[in-house]
Amino acid sequence: MLGVAVWSGWAPAQAQTRGATDPGVRGGAPGAGGPLPGLSQDEVNFFNAAADVFQEDENVAAGLGPRFNLDSCSGCHFHPAAGGSSPAVNPQVKVATANGARNVVPSFIKANGPVREARFVRNPNGTPDGGVHALFVITGRADAPGCNIQQPNFAAAVAANNVIFRIPTPTFGLGLVEAVPDSGLRASLAANGAQKRSLGISGDFNVTGNDGTITRFGWKAQNKSLLIFSGEAYNVEMGVTNEAFPNEREDNPNCQFNNLPESTTRLVNTTNSASPASDFSSDIVNFTAFMRMLAPPTPASATPATAQAPAAATTQVASATNTSVLGTAAGTSSTSPAATTATTTRGQQVFSNIGCQNCHAVSLTTGKSAMTGQSNVTFHPYSDFAVHAMGNGLADGVTQGNANGSEFRSAPLWGVGQRIFFLHDGRTNDLKDAIQAHASTGSEANSVIHNFNLLSTSDQQALLNFLRSL
């Protein structure tokens, strides 16, 4: 809280002399990492046990490799707490040579930079690639004798301008996101249509080709569910085959050390934690349980109820008459009201007046949820979970589902106050730069950024302060 007081105190003075500036990462205790309020004791036990699995380091015997980006979930999803995004110190530098490995750290991986995965835009024959090319191999590790595969030629890919990057998406609150019915998301996107059309904003949902329902996880909303997200990341980022993705991506016979899939449902309980559900479940089910029950970030101020005053207020009342309204975790008006400052209140007005909320939609409401106490919960992700054209400046040339090379999901802004790196590739740690990067040829956000640039310096500063309060 002290950190909040400090940055919100000096910011306006900075604004007067040097223009608006990003106050920087909000200090203090992590406002995230715990379970959703209202869960049953069994669910909390499952969450706690699953959190341990989420934070395990894997070795080759446990399924790591043959190609991988890191050796644990929480290594990437670390800041400000397990489940978050990239930490300040990049663990990929250390893992490159862990246990005898001889990997060369690619030029785009820095000790003080973001955790990154690399995707190649095109295949050598010019056809679209878009897939993840893992940074490292297990060659040389003491637990991988005989494996002698090589890393991809990243230097050549960089020289050919054929590589793009993605940083870890925070996973806080995603169980609530998963529990929003498609109709709720579609209603949110359709709301305020006239305002959106006055600003050049449209957007659409990515959908699964299997059943046509909305996909909502990942930078391009390419993943349907937290289980799919877990299974895909376990295989692609760590090389661990699992019940959702049972085949190795690298099948060099000299680098196969385990039966597949490497993580399966356990038939015998050898762990005996407080949660038999966790003990019997495969790793990806544990990861899913952890993320599904992980509470949203706690903002520094109580803000959302007044962003779209009438609509939000109505929703809150409606929710309160049902099961629950998420309190401290989701940042309703009951959350730490003392932390609200004049500048963040003004910043919230700026946020809605210039049009940010047309994509970074403030509130959503869950439908009926299998999790205890999570039905009809209104929460504040600051995202519509739709994909929007973001212009040439952010385009990565990778198509996923029906999100094309310049389209990205509206990044949820909850927790942005404690985020270190911004945008899909982590190109900046300056929130103001991230805002400006929304404008370029072909972006739906151009008019909103024009509005931002027309603001007074003090109002730009208020917006930055508000965002850092989330």
């Binding site: 359709a190 305020n192 249509g193 006239a194 305002q195 059309r197 006055s198 600003l199 050049g200 449209s202 957007g203 659409d204 959908v207 699964t208 080709g209 299997n210 046509g212 007044t306 962003a307 779209q308 005053a309 009438p310 609509a311 003004r346 919230q348 007005q349 700026v350 809605s352 007046n353 210039i354 054209a389 212009g391 589902g401 029906n402 310049s406 404008a439 370029s440 040829t441 072909g442 972006s443 739906e444 151009n446 008019s447 024009h450 509005n451 640039n453 027309l454 603001l455 007074s456 109002d459």
Partner: protein, 297 residues
């Protein structure tokens, strides 16, 4: 002299025949600005050149304020057939912007209602935003002799006006934002002299009537289904112009992948529709439909 006159007459006939053939086959015509163009131009084809934004599809020309230029181009058409046509800004220090956009009313999710209804909805939406003030209630006004609705609103030091009119079943809008209300008013008032529309005598004004959902049900006499390609379940909005004889003159696949576009065009140009009737006479008609490919199984 007589021979020269004959040459001129012959050349004129040849050019006339070619033009006639183009009009018959492709709908090509001389636009209201004297440019040979296609009457089947699409909404996104408008461009800024020599200080003016010109759209043959919408039949209008807008002379930019002195010293203004094009900002970044906007995104392509959306899946709801919304078009960011252009954005213009002053050169140098930014103090205002004008976004020109259009929404195809065939493809909005909700029932659109009249232009007046839409202006009122717009006003209500802005009024719901905390800190936003409605400075001028939605009201009809004439701009360049055409009916528009205007709503003015302001907040956080930005003064804005939205001007909307209907053209070919699109809501066409000028969205003006300025740092001060006087500049806003000057920019809006200048529209009256800087904006011009195709008149009855211009070829570009001769667009066919637009009718929602005409290419459906019994109106379709012969239908060819597009081969399903590309992403499934994604709505693909399509505008088409049907000749008076029921043949398809023009297909505009508004948003799709290239392979989907080819597949849809291949199919729809082979459709045959019941001729649209105006006052008992067959007429060309412009309409729209939404396609959505499903999995093969």
């Amino acid at each position: 002299m007589v021979r020269r006159l004959l040459y001129v007459c012959a050349a004129t006939c040849v050019v006339g025949c070619i033009m006639g053939a183009l009009v018959w086959r492709y709908g090509a015509a001389v636009s209201f600005r004297g440019i040979v163009t296609s009457a089947a131009a699409n909404p996104q084809d408008g461009k800024v050149a020599r200080g003016s934004y010109t759209s043959d599809y919408f039949g209008l020309s807008y002379r930019l304020p002195p010293g203004w230029t094009v900002a970044e181009e906007g995104p392509g058409p959306s899946s709801s057939a919304y078009y960011v046509l252009t954005t213009v800004i002053p050169e140098g220090e930014p103090n205002a912007t004008i976004l020109i956009a259009a929404q195809d009313m065939f493809f909005v999710g909700e029932e659109a209602g009249s232009l007046a209804d839409q202006a009122r909805d717009l006003q209500q939406g802005f009024a719901n935003i905390a800190g936003m003030t409605i400075d001028r209630e939605a009201a009809e006004m004439k701009v360049a002799d055409r009916p528009f609705y205007r709503v003015d609103y302001s907040g956080v030091g930005l003064y804005r006006a939205m001007m909307i009119t209907e053209i070919r079943c699109h809501v066409f809008s000028f969205n003006v934002t300025a740092r001060d209300p006087e500049l806003l008013n000057r920019l809006v008032q200048a529209l009256d002299s800087d904006l011009s529309f195709a008149t009855a005598g211009d070829a570009a004004s001769a667009s066919p009537p637009c009718v929602k959902d005409y290419a459906a049900g019994d109106n379709v006499l012969h239908k060819v289904s597009p081969v399903p390609v590309g992403p499934r379940f994604v709505p693909i909005p399509v505008r088409m112009i049907v000749n008076a004889d029921g043949g398809v003159r023009h297909v505009h696949v508004i948003r799709a992948t290239d392979e989907q576009r080819r597949s849809i065009e291949d199919a729809l140009y082979r459709w045959k529709l019941k001729p649209y009737q105006v006052d008992g006479r067959a007429s060309a008609v412009e309409t729209g439909l939404v396609l959505r490919f499903k999995p093969d199984n």
